[in-house]
Amino acid sequence: MSVKHKTIRMMFTLMGLPTCEEVEQFAYDFLEGALDVKTTKAVQRHLQACKNCQRFIVAYRRTSALGKTFPRPSLDSEFKQNLFEFLTQRMGKTT
């Protein structure tokens, strides 16, 4: 293990904060607001101290939000008309 990583790890341990890996594992629940208060505060304090995790969370949040921008095409009315006739006819035949 490099001295740099050893020092950072020690700093987080002394501060009672999660590691970067733990922050990643908390990311889903952190975004959902599903972590308990103590863990949320610990993650927030880690983020204040770790620029790399700040960037990770920003990217993770934007990736999650990406889905909202997807197009939502509709079926045209002719298809729906045909579908209605298809269902009524098929179900009519079976009874």
């Binding site: 590691t19 990217a59 934007r62 909202k68 197009p71 079926l75 729906k80 209605f84 298809f86």
Partner: protein, 207 residues
């Protein structure tokens, strides 16, 4: 799709207050209004979901037809243990994935390249600053196309979880019911899909 004579007109239902219970009763009675309600309420949503798996509109339309036919044919066996909503989404996901399976030429994900790397819990890589990526980029056709192609590479189980949670915006409990997963398993799949997409976007647009 089968070609059919036009006998009755489809009347798109306005936003209605018909409950699932009443709709199911109407479907069991083979009532026209119930078929209309089923199509009005669900066909666009099922089409959008299927289209995200399959890309081809014609195939997605076929899935909608197959799913709604399956549902009306089996409505007598529907016991109400789950909601109609869950049932429709589950059948749509399963039918869409069935269509995907024969496509052996699909690329696959190399997770070693995707998952963040750590040394004793500390990041081994420096992430790029997504603040540099403007919101407008997300609206560009080329960007959306890239994201769509990236989603296609995802393993089916992760793809389904991501599409239902982040794209269709279903509540967590509903995603779990549709995919028949525990909540930790569902979260894990969505999380890994996000990690994958984050990595793909960062490599292409943010560095």
């Amino acid at each position: 799709m089968e070609s059919l004579p036009k006998s009755r007109d489809f009347q798109p239902a306005a936003a209605s207050n018909i409950s699932d219970k009443d709709l199911i009763r109407g479907l069991r009675e083979k009532a026209d209004w119930a078929y209309q309600e089923l199509i009005s309420r669900w066909s666009d949503k099922l089409y959008q979901l299927s289209l995200r798996f399959l890309k081809r509109p014609e195939e997605a339309q076929e899935i909608v037809q197959e799913v709604l036919l399956k549902v009306v044919e089996k409505i007598d066996t529907f016991e109400g243990g789950s909601s109609l909503y869950t049932w429709l989404y589950r059948v749509t996901v399963n039918e869409s994935l069935m269509r995907l399976r024969p496509d052996k030429g699909r690329k696959t994900v190399s997770w070693e390249d995707v998952l963040p790397k750590y040394e004793n819990g500390i990041h081994l890589e420096n992430f790029s600053d997504w603040v540099k990526l403007p919101d407008e980029k997300f609206e560009e056709k080329e960007f959306k196309q890239f994201v769509q192609e990236s989603i296609e590479i995802l393993p089916d189980d992760l793809k389904a979880a991501y599409l239902l949670k982040d794209v269709e915006q279903l509540p967590e409990d509903e995603v779990c019911k549709v995919l028949e997963l525990t909540k930790p398993a569902m979260k894990n799949r969505v999380h890994r899909a996000r990690l994958f997409l984050r990595k793909k976007i960062e490599e292409r647009y943010v560095r």
